[in-house]
Symmetry: C2
Subunit: 351 residues, 2 copies
């Protein structure tokens, strides 16, 4: 297979981890006889520094004409504590999601047997946890109007959802549930929000088309608690943009390290693959960042194009590396490997 | 001291637990020679059933002319899955908060030594955790305009905050931090939301008036993760309405049971005290609900009126009951006491 992959390393640890997943994808191409063509582009703080624009036009163009985007991370502390900054790195990511129409963000979470002791949660609570979060990604309060009053005395963010936006997500999530344990949980705040009530109504109706999937509902506050009390109850979780952002970061504690969690963002025509962790500025350049989330994102990329054997080879390699403790410091406290070494080891296993 | 206390038992387990805290307050009044006068009123589904109104005028009036409100719980499943319901129990609670101007919700969370083994989190992660969440309660997306388009094809919720709303919360939280470990964490999503940027700007500025308090910032997604990874890092958390709702329910896992968590909601003229758990319909009438959250809310009531010794007596009694395992089934799995028996035991300790 021929694939043109846009590589957007971004900020912080983005470049170092993305380098490893590119290495792994190259090893896959070699071994399975594919042609993957990589092209890099600027995004985020890196792009602001050079071009004063978190998503330069050339970057968006490259992504559009590529088959897939491999994304690193975005964000820089110098913008976080400056509420008056005119441009911010995150805008690059948000514009990219919107520009490519990536309405669904898919985040699998599972407890690796070997890592169960690493989790802050007790082993018996998380053993067997295996879920996937379907987060709506181009709607809601992220993309509604936002403004500050002229006198600076108040600010507003608008959250809207349409039946269409909800429906396309719901179908994806129901289909995923059919391939898994046939259980779908909609997380919302229907006791307070009008948008949540539209979600509940729309998803309930669409559920009739999937009679083999059991649908249930949780309020987000309760879900945030249940995620820790009893994570094995979840199979597919469907939720809106902001709740998905919160819940999936929270869920990362189940796996033992956020450095393991991959995601795919898909739309009608484009797809992007990125770790769920951020730019982790404190770790930048130290060789301590875990490249596995990015590498597992690359596996999701392979899967997306039907390269199931290839994706499985990557995942198996990751599992072996964890078993052998060839891991960065977030997992292997005593005798850790560098970002580069972990990447190199995985590359070797796959080649 | 003379206090007029409005008692709003509400729905589900609300009545059974509130009965216990009233019992305890009566014991306090007897022992310390106070005059507490109690008057009950309807709210929530209970009020809808009888009067078609989740917050009857008489209830709001009673609350206004009382010194404090003791609140049970609200919510009934028959409304949750009916997105078309015209009135819902939760409106009663929200109107009450707004009507009484209860802009600050204060939720202490701590790990009881005796219960550390009960938590889904590993003991070493939570030992010593002791924080208080200051949640804004009458603004944000809870109270902004909300509407469904005429064709039913889209819905909207508006989230707004003013500098004034943020400031009064910030002052309360900074003052609390001064009484504690002098650390305040603002939780927001300033990399995406305009309202969050106003929060960050306003709180930063007010922070200059409290130079002895160390102020830091966390994005809500990261905070939801840090709450589990490293809960002892928190002292006072300040956040907006929706984020506070999610984060405080999540934080309940630290204490070992949500059935232990109390809250105070305060405004300029009124104050209300309620457990953070909900109406827990599955448990209603079974005598298994934990009355401690309501009883500790009563302790916060006492504290609020400067009755420190009295509040301490209630808290000490609760601690002793936990030590002796005189607890409901959420805590004492093998040999549990009923709601009534726990209340009775605490009443006896205080008398
Ligand atoms: C960086 C930020 C804008 C982003 C988000 O909130 O969506 C991140 O937290 C994520 O989850 O991908
Ligand atoms: C019942 C509901 C409206 C309420 C809220 O969301 O505020 C509850 O979850 C709470 O936290 O007190």
């Amino acid at each position: 297979m021929k694939l043109k992959i846009a590589v957007l390393p971004g900020d912080g640890i983005g470049p170092e981890i993305t380098q490893q997943s590119v290495k792994v994808l190259k090893a896959v191409a070699d071994r399975f006889d594919h042609q993957f063509e990589f092209e890099e582009a600027l995004v985020g703080a890196a792009a602001i520094d050079l071009l004063d624009n978190p998503l330069p036009e050339a970057t968006l163009d490259l992504c559009k004409k590529s088959d897939a985007v491999l994304f690193g991370a975005i964000g820089h502390p110098k913008y976080d504590n400056n509420p008056d900054a005119k441009v911010r790195p995150e805008q690059g990511l948000l514009q990219l999601r919107k520009g490519l129409g990536l309405f669904a963000n898919i985040r699998p979470v599972k407890a690796y047997d070997k890592l169960i002791e690493q989790s802050p949660l007790k082993a018996e609570r998380i053993a067997g946890a295996n879920m996937v979060i379907y987060r709506e990604l181009t709607g809601g309060i992220y993309f509604g109007d936002k403004f500050t009053a002229e006198d600076g005395q108040s600010a507003t963010d608008v959250c809207s959802y349409s039946v269409e936006e909800i429906s396309r997500m719901a179908h994806l999530a129901f289909k995923a549930a059919q391939q898994r344990s046939k259980k779908l949980t909609l997380v919302d705040k229907a006791n307070v929000l009008e948008t949540s009530r539209l979600w509940r109504k729309t998803v309930t109706k669409i559920g009739e088309e999937y009679p083999d999937v059991a649908l249930d509902f949780l309020f987000i506050d309760n879900a945030a608690m249940q995620m820790i009390l009893n994570p094995t109850q979840f199979d597919v979780i469907l939720t809106e943009n902001m709740f998905g952002d919160i819940l999936s970061d929270e869920a990362s504690v189940i796996g033992g390290s956020i450095g393991l969690l991959a995601s795919a963002s898909v739309g009608k025509e484009n797809a992007m693959f990125e770790p769920i962790h951020g730019s982790y500025p404190q770790a930048t350049g130290k060789g301590i960042a875990n490249p596995v989330a990015s590498i597992l994102s690359a596996a999701m990329l392979l899967e997306h194009f039907g390269l199931t054997t290839e994706a499985e080879a990557v995942r198996k390699a990751v599992e072996l590396s964890i078993k052998l403790n060839v891991c960065t410091i977030d997992i292997n406290k005593d005798n850790h490997y560098t970002t580069e070494k972990v990447g190199h080891f995985l590359e070797g296993l796959i080649s």
